[in-house]
C-alpha cells in the first residue's frame, strides 16, 4: 500500500515536470562553424558584452544589424487585432529572417553574403504569416470570441499567457519561438505542438 503511494507520488511529480531542455549549440542558430565567423563563437552573431546597439527597444546587448525594411502585415476580415509594423523582439528576428540583412552582418560587418532562403526566409511580406506585434489582451479575446483571455488562461509554461508569452502585452515571434532553443522542440518552439497544443494555448477552437 505504501509503495503504491510512493509510486503515484513519483509519477505525479514526473507528470508535472514534463519539461524538455535544449540548448543552442548544434541548432540552426549555432553559427560557430561558419567560415565568416572567424571567432568561432555562437552568441556573437547577435550579442556583444560591450558597446551594444541600444537603438532598438528590448534588444539585449544587440550586436546584429537591424532591418530597415517596411513590412506588409497580415490582414483578414476576421482579424480583430490591430497589426502594424513589426516591433520589439520580432524586429530582431526579422533582421535575419526578412532576407534583407545578411546573417553575418554583425559587429561592424555590413556587406555579408549569406542570406536566408527556403522555409527559413519569411521575407518582408508578412501577409502569409501569423500576425505579430499586436496587443493581445482580454478585450481582444472577448471581441474575437475564439481566443482565450491572456490575463487568466494558463500557458502551460508556468503562468498565464500574458505572463509567459507576451512582451509588454504584445504577441511577438518569441511568443511561440525560443531563439535559444531553451525547450528543445523542433522549429525552436517554446512548447510541444503535438495535438497543436501550442496553437491551442491561445486559440479557443
Amino acid at each position: 500500500m505504501k509503495s503504491a503511494h510512493i509510486f503515484l507520488s513519483l509519477f505525479f511529480i514526473a507528470c508535472l515536470a514534463q519539461v524538455s531542455f535544449g540548448q543552442i549549440t548544434g541548432t540552426d542558430h549555432d553559427f560557430s562553424g561558419r567560415t565568416w565567423n572567424s571567432s568561432g563563437e555562437i552568441c556573437i552573431v547577435c550579442h556583444t558584452p560591450h558597446n551594444a546597439n541600444g537603438a532598438v527597444t528590448g534588444a539585449p546587448l544587440w550586436n546584429h544589424q537591424v532591418t530597415g525594411a517596411t513590412f506588409t502585415p497580415y490582414s483578414s476580415t476576421t482579424l480583430d487585432a490591430t497589426v502594424g509594423q513589426p516591433a520589439g523582439n520580432s524586429k530582431l528576428c526579422l533582421s535575419c529572417h526578412d532576407g534583407t540583412v545578411a546573417v553575418e552582418n554583425y559587429g561592424n560587418v555590413t556587406n555579408g553574403a549569406e542570406f536566408l532562403s527556403g522555409s527559413e526566409l519569411i521575407g518582408t511580406d508578412l501577409s502569409n504569416d501569423h500576425p505579430i506585434s499586436f496587443s493581445y489582451d482580454a478585450t481582444l479575446a472577448s471581441t474575437d470570441g475564439g481566443l482565450y483571455d491572456p490575463t487568466t488562461q494558463t500557458s502551460g509554461l508556468g503562468g498565464t499567457i500574458g505572463d509567459d508569452m507576451l512582451f509588454a502585452g504584445q504577441l511577438e515571434c518569441a511568443s511561440c519561438h525560443d531563439v535559444h532553443n531553451g525547450a528543445g522542440y523542433s522549429n525552436f518552439l517554446r512548447k510541444s505542438n503535438s495535438g497543436s497544443a501550442l496553437c491551442l494555448t491561445c486559440h479557443n477552437k
Binding site: M1, G195, N204
Partner: protein, 562 residues
C-alpha cells in the same frame, strides 16, 4: 482502503486533459492521430496543421496550409431547378478551402508546410461514400458562392434577407459553406453554426409561405420502426416530424433528388416514406391507397411536375399537384371550401382563371379535369363534355351541387342531412372506397376512383350494393318506390338499366343542353339508349311529368309519358 491505481491515474491525468480539451480536438475535424473520427492520420500529431500554417500560407487568409483542388465543379443552378433564382458560378471564397478536402480530389495530407503527405504518407483522400465526400458534382448539394441580396429575396419570394445570425454571408454577400458550417465548432453536430432542430438553421434564410401552420411543421409523429427508415438520409435525425422539419423531405448535401434537393428523385417517395402508416397515422396512409387499381397514379410520372405550372402543362400527377407540403394542415372545412389538407395549392376557378391559393376544393380538380380535360368521360353520351367546369356550371339545366346548390327544388330521395340546398365535394363521390382511409381521391377499388360501387353496365341486377354510390345520398327505398320518377323501379329493377344509362352524374352544360331536355341530369348513355327514327328525346313536362322518344332494350318509347 484499496486504491485503484487505474482510477487514480485517470483522475490525475484524464480529468485535467478533459477539462482542458478544445472543441475541435474532439471533432472529426481533428484529423491527427488523436482524432475521434474514422478518417484520421496515422502519423501526424498536430491538429491545426491540416488546414493552417503560421508561415508561408496560401491563400494568406486564413493562414491556409492546403493545396486547393483544381476541379471544375458541376453546380446547382437554374438548369437543375427552375425555382432557383440566384446566379451561381464555380465555387469561390472560403468554400474552396472546404472543398480542398471535401471534394475528394486532394489528399488529406497534402499541405504546404510539408513536402510529404502528413496524413498517412500514402495520399489518402476523403473516402468516397462517406458523408463528408461531396465530390465534384455539387448539383446535389445546397448551392454556394452566390450573391444573396434583397433582390434575390424579392424575386424568390420565400427567402429572408438579411439572413438571421448566426447564418452569415461572406464579405461579398455570398452564401458559402461557412454560412451554415463552422469548421471549428461541432457543438450542434455537422459543424452547423446553430441547431437545426425544427430546421431553425434553414429558416434563418428560408421563409416558406404557410410553413408555420403546416402539419409538417407541428406534427409530433414518430417513426414506428417498420419498413424503410424515412430519415435514413439524416445523419442524426430527431425523433419527430416537426423537429426534422425541412429535412423530412429535403437533403442539403448529396441529395437523392437533385431538383430542389429532395431526398428522393421519385417525387412521391419523399411523401410515401412517411405516409405509409409508419410515421403518419393510418388515416394518412396514402401508400395503401395508391396500391389500389384505380388511383391518381403518382408513380406513373417523374420530374414532369413543375411548381411554377399554372393552367398549361403536360399530363402528369404528383402528390404536390394537390398538396403543398409546406402548407397542408388539419383545418376542417365544409363544401365547397377547401380544407387544410389542400392549403396553399393553386387551381382554376369557375371562371377558368388560375388562382393560388384555391378557396374551393373543386378549383383544385379543375386544374386537370376542366379545360385541360386530362381525363375523358367513360360513357359515350348524347351530349359529350369532358370539361367538368362546364358540367358543374350553375347556369346549367342540371348538375350535381358542387359549385352551388342544385337546380331541383324537389328531390325527395335525399337522405338527411342532405337537402336540396346542400353543396357537396367532388370527393364525396371520388374518394377511397374505405371509410377509414384518408379522405380524397387517392385510390379506390372502384373505377374512376369512386367511393362506392357504381355499376354502369347494362342489365345489371339492382341491389343495395350495385348502386351503392347513388344510394349513399339518394334513398334506395325512395327511389324504388318511385317517389320522384314514377318508373324508376321498372327501369332499374325490372329492366336492369343502370342509373348511368339515363343520368349524367356531373351535369349538362348550358351551352349544349337545355332545361326541357336535360333536367334531372338526363343525358343518355348511347351504348344503351338508342334513337328512335333518328330521334332521341327526353322532355320535361314539369310537375314530375315527362316523356321519352327513344329505343331501349328493344323497346320503342314513342313519346312514352309519365
Amino acid at each position: 482502503m484499496k486504491i485503484n491505481i487505474s482510477l487514480l491515474l485517470y483522475i490525475l491525468l484524464g480529468i485535467p486533459a478533459f477539462v482542458n480539451s478544445q472543441p475541435i480536438v474532439n471533432t472529426k475535424h481533428n484529423l491527427s492521430v488523436s482524432g475521434p473520427g474514422s478518417v484520421k492520420s496515422t502519423i501526424e500529431t498536430e491538429v491545426c496543421v491540416f488546414c493552417h500554417t503560421p508561415h508561408n500560407s496560401n491563400p494568406q487568409i486564413p493562414l491556409w496550409n492546403r493545396n486547393n483542388s483544381s476541379a471544375i465543379y458541376t453546380i446547382y443552378d437554374n438548369s437543375i431547378s427552375n425555382t432557383f433564382n440566384a446566379n451561381t458560378g464555380q465555387p469561390d471564397g472560403s468554400s474552396l478551402l472546404c472543398l480542398s478536402c471535401h471534394d475528394g480530389t486532394v489528399a488529406l495530407g497534402n499541405v504546404l508546410s510539408s513536402s510529404s503527405d502528413i496524413f498517412d504518407g500514402a495520399g489518402t483522400k476523403m473516402p468516397a461514400g462517406s458523408r463528408g465526400h461531396l465530390g465534384i458534382d455539387l448539383s446535389d448539394d445546397h448551392p454556394i458562392s452566390f450573391v444573396f441580396d434583397a433582390a434575390l429575396a424579392t424575386s424568390d419570394g420565400q427567402l429572408r434577407y438579411p439572413p438571421v445570425y448566426p447564418a452569415t454571408l461572406d464579405v461579398n454577400s455570398k452564401v458559402q459553406c461557412s454560412s451554415c458550417h463552422n469548421a471549428h465548432n461541432n457543438m450542434y453536430g455537422k459543424f452547423l453554426v446553430a441547431s437545426n432542430e425544427y430546421s431553425d438553421l434553414c429558416k434563418k434564410c428560408h421563409d416558406m409561405q404557410y410553413w408555420n401552420n403546416s402539419s409538417h411543421s407541428t406534427s409530433s409523429a414518430t417513426w414506428n420502426g417498420s419498413g424503410t427508415n424515412p430519415w435514413a438520409h439524416i445523419e442524426t435525425p430527431f425523433p419527430t416530424v416537426s423537429q426534422n422539419a425541412c429535412e423530412n423531405c429535403h437533403q442539403p448535401h448529396s441529395a437523392g433528388g437533385k431538383v430542389r434537393l429532395l431526398k428522393s428523385s421519385l417525387e412521391e417517395n419523399n411523401c410515401l416514406d412517411c405516409h405509409n402508416g409508419n410515421v403518419a397515422q393510418s388515416s394518412k396512409d396514402i401508400a395503401t391507397e395508391l396500391a389500389k387499381p384505380y388511383k391518381h397514379d403518382v408513380a406513373g410520372y417523374n420530374l414532369i411536375h413543375n411548381p411554377n405550372e399554372t393552367t398549361s402543362f403536360a399530363s402528369h400527377v404528383e402528390c404536390e399537384d394537390c398538396h403543398n407540403p409546406h402548407a397542408a394542415n388539419s383545418a376542417l372545412a365544409s363544401a365547397p371550401y377547401a380544407s387544410g389538407k389542400l392549403a396553399g395549392v393553386g387551381g382554376v376557378n369557375q371562371n377558368g382563371s388560375w388562382v393560388k391559393p384555391i378557396s374551393n376544393e373543386y378549383e383544385l380538380c379543375y386544374k386537370c379535369h376542366a379545360d385541360n380535360a386530362l381525363s375523358v368521360s367513360s360513357t359515350t353520351r348524347q351530349i359529350e363534355q369532358n370539361n367538368t367546369r362546364l358540367e358543374f356550371d350553375l347556369d346549367n339545366p342540371s348538375y350535381h351541387p358542387v359549385v352551388g346548390a342544385g337546380k331541383n327544388p324537389n328531390s325527395p330521395s335525399l337522405i338527411p342531412p342532405y337537402s336540396e340546398s346542400s353543396i357537396i365535394y367532388c370527393t364525396d363521390c371520388h374518394a377511397s372506397n374505405d371509410s377509414n382511409s384518408p379522405a380524397g381521391p387517392h385510390g379506390s377499388i372502384y373505377p374512376r376512383i369512386l367511393k362506392y360501387r357504381y355499376e354502369k353496365a347494362d342489365y345489371t341486377q339492382e341491389s343495395s350494393s350495385t348502386y351503392e354510390l347513388c344510394y349513399s345520398c339518394h334513398s334506395r327505398t325512395s327511389i324504388l318506390s318511385n317517389v320522384s320518377f314514377k318508373k324508376h323501379s321498372r327501369h332499374i329493377v325490372n329492366a336492369k338499366a343502370p342509373c348511368n344509362a339515363c343520368h349524367d352524374p356531373h351535369g349538362i352544360s348550358y351551352s349544349q343542353g337545355n332545361s326541357t331536355n336535360n333536367s334531372h341530369l338526363i343525358n343518355f348513355d348511347l351504348d344503351i339508349v338508342k334513337p328512335l327514327m333518328g330521334q332521341l328525346i327526353y322532355e320535361d313536362l314539369g310537375n314530375g311529368r315527362g316523356r321519352c322518344y327513344l329505343t331501349c332494350h328493344g323497346k320503342r318509347h314513342r313519346r312514352y309519358g309519365y
